[in-house]
């Protein structure tokens, strides 16, 4: 079990209203990612769920039980911190065993659970080491191990991969997703990295200034963003926003078109642009173009396309993939 419900939860630090009011339903077994720019309140929201911060108003329910005033340990949640927060003077074994020891479990039971967790996480050979003798990825796994052994009703991850290098981040992303499929436990994951959000989540919660902008599956958010913020935040490279005559011709204040939905040609098209920067990634090339009467446009094309700085390129937006927004920034549905 591990469903979490937030009812009109708000958080105020002094004068600053970090979270005005949030309603959210997290179902049992779901992998939910809170994503948003830094300072959007996503970590605060996670800490509210964990009980490390008190809510200013509203209620938090876990498995239908009101835990708004419960201490962190009583909520049955486990958290993996950004800095891992391992206990530096304890061995890996004692780190993982710590929550069980605090729960006053039998020594034999503790040993078995630690051994099981270590096997799942490939830590068996490192059990007697200190955290300082481990690499970043191994520390991360110890932190996860410490969370797993408690058999919590939900895991909370606070930007767990941000201290790892790019290659290791990719590996750990897979490992965490794999773990979720094995354990089938609810996971709430905070990140500012939309790639992590898109690849791992069952459900993404996009936050901005303490408000939920949109909740949905990764592809829902990609295909039909509810407003300009979500449209600009989800997807890499970012969606192009075009105002002016082109948008008016589509009956919208702003028209949005993703870089991958632009048809490129070297001799004909609606827009004519000059390549300022071409980023060749191998399979793909990202072109940053100056388009007369439209502005800056980013386009994604095949690696074989062959455009370089100073070249002239013609573009045609794919009308079926066009996003239209009204003057309040909300999406217009056809």
């Amino acid at each position: 079990m591990g469903s979490i419900t937030l009812q009109k939860v708000s958080k105020v630090f002094g004068e600053a209203k970090v979270i005005p009011s949030i309603d959210l339903e997290i179902n049992n077994g779901e992998f939910v990612v809170f994503v948003g720019p830094s300072g959007c309140g996503k970590s605060t929201l996670l800490r509210l769920i964990a009980g490390l911060e008190d809510v200013s108003s509203g209620h938090i329910l876990i498995d239908g039980k009101d835990v708004t005033d419960a201490a962190p340990a009583e909520r049955g949640l486990a958290m993996v911190f950004q800095s891992y927060a391992l206990y530096p003077h304890m061995s890996v074994r004692n780190n993982i065993a710590f929550p069980l020891k605090m729960a006053k479990l039998d020594k034999a039971v503790i040993d078995k659970k630690v051994a099981d967790a270590a096997r799942v996480l490939n830590l068996t050979d490192y059990l007697e080491r200190r955290p300082s003798q481990l690499s970043g990825g191994q520390r991360q796994r110890v932190a996860i191990g410490r969370a797993i052994v408690r058999e919590p009703s939900a895991f909370l991850f606070d930007e767990p991969l941000s201290n790892l290098d790019a290659a290791l981040r990719g590996t750990m992303r897979l490992e965490i997703s794999d773990l979720h499929h094995q354990l089938k436990t609810t996971m709430v994951y905070v990140t500012h990295d939309q790639v992590e959000a898109m690849t791992m989540a069952d459900k993404i919660v996009v936050l901005n200034r303490g408000n939920i902008e949109q909740v949905g599956s990764p592809l829902e958010l990609y295909k039909s963003p509810r407003n300009l913020f979500v449209a600009g935040f989800i997807g890499s490279p970012h969606m192009n926003f075009v105002t002016g005559t082109y948008a008016q011709s589509k009956n919208a204040k702003t028209a949005g078109i993703r870089p991958e939905h632009l048809g490129l040609s070297k001799d004909s098209g609606i827009w004519r642009g000059v390549v300022k920067v071409a980023e060749h990634l191998g399979a793909d090339t990202f072109l940053h173009l100056d388009v007369e009467g439209v502005g800056q446009i980013t386009a994604r094309c095949d690696g074989e396309f062959g455009a370089y700085h100073g070249d002239t390129v013609y573009m045609t937006p794919d009308e079926t993939k066009l996003h239209r927004f009204d003057d309040k920034g909300l999406a217009l549905r056809a």
Binding site: A73, F81, S83, Y87, R146, R150
Partner: protein
């Protein structure tokens, strides 16, 4: 940094200071050692002669000798106990966010700035005095007989005064260590179900181990030679009840005018300090290399 060139240069640059420190230490030690084998009394300064180990025998057979060593160790141990435990307690309190934090911290630290004879005089005349001291007033308020501290508990009184002086030092060092404890570790322990006591035992104390070691080592160096507080308050008495080794050496040298005997005492003090240092380093020194 580690090329041959820089190594040679570094040694060359360090040489003057090392040489100076060596002379600073070796010359007085050698002179003390030299005098300790001489029959040298200031009442009869023209008659100086070699006496072999007589001064050591004289000092060793002094009835105050073993008591003074014991008193030295009691002062060191007692003050360390009070300052380390009290220091941790006060540091934990000061680490909490409170109103007027800055002023409270300055007040807590201020005893460290009071020089030892002044502190001892304040305690002697204003706090522990049996007729008009603060403790006497408190006793009278409860209808009890005032305690004559320096007559009834001379050594304990010295320990209290010296501990009062060193408590700020311990508090300051331990407070900075406490502030460097990672907040996420505390939160992780909280989520792991550790209550305050468990967090203290498993998280705070191991984190403080190194600072506690520093406090113990530095304080021991100074506490072995406590002198001013004894001179100002009890003058070593009653009898030899509050005489420590440093004070005994002072008595031999400046009240007995016996330079040779005092030098022998000084060498014994050096040996004692080294024994203490040896056991101390074995007991807590491993906390330093991590």
């Amino acid at each position: 940094m580690a090329t041959q060139n820089t190594k040679t240069l570094a040694r060359l640059m360090m040489a003057p200071s090392v040489l100076l420190l060596l002379i600073w230490m070796i010359v007085p030690l050698a002179m003390t050692l030299w005098f300790s084998f001489q029959n040298y009394n200031l009442l009869d300064p023209s008659n100086v002669s070699f006496t072999g180990l007589f001064n050591y025998q004289f000092f060793y057979t002094d009835p105050a000798f073993f008591q003074s060593i014991w008193n030295t160790l009691v002062i060191v141990g007692g003050v360390l106990l009070i300052t380390v435990i009290g220091g941790i307690a006060i540091a934990l309190l000061l680490d909490q966010p409170i109103f007027g934090q800055g002023i409270v911290r300055i007040l807590i630290i201020s005893p460290f700035f009071v020089m030892p004879p002044v502190a001892a005089l304040v305690w002697k005349n204003m706090i522990m005095n049996p007729s008009y001291g603060v403790f006497a007033d408190i006793s009278k308020f409860f209808g009890l007989r005032p305690i004559d501290w320096f007559a009834q508990y001379p050594l304990f009184s010295i320990v209290i005064i010296v501990a009062w002086q060193w408590l700020p030092f311990a508090t300051l060092i331990l407070l900075t260590a406490l502030q460097s404890l990672d907040g996420e570790q505390k939160e992780a322990a909280e989520m792991d179900g550790a209550n305050f006591l468990n967090r203290f035992i498993y998280l705070v104390v191991p984190h403080l181990a190194r600072s506690i070691t520093v406090v113990i080592l530095i304080q021991t160096i100074f506490l072995l030679g406590v002198y001013a507080e004894i001179l100002v308050t009890t003058n070593g008495g009653p009898g030899y009840a509050s005489t420590n080794l440093a004070f005994l050496i002072y008595r031999t040298a400046l009240l007995g005018y016996d330079v040779g005997g005092a030098s022998a005492g000084g060498i014994i003090a050096v040996v004692l300090a080294n024994i203490v240092a040896f056991f101390l380093m074995r007991a807590v020194g491993k906390n330093l290399d991590r």
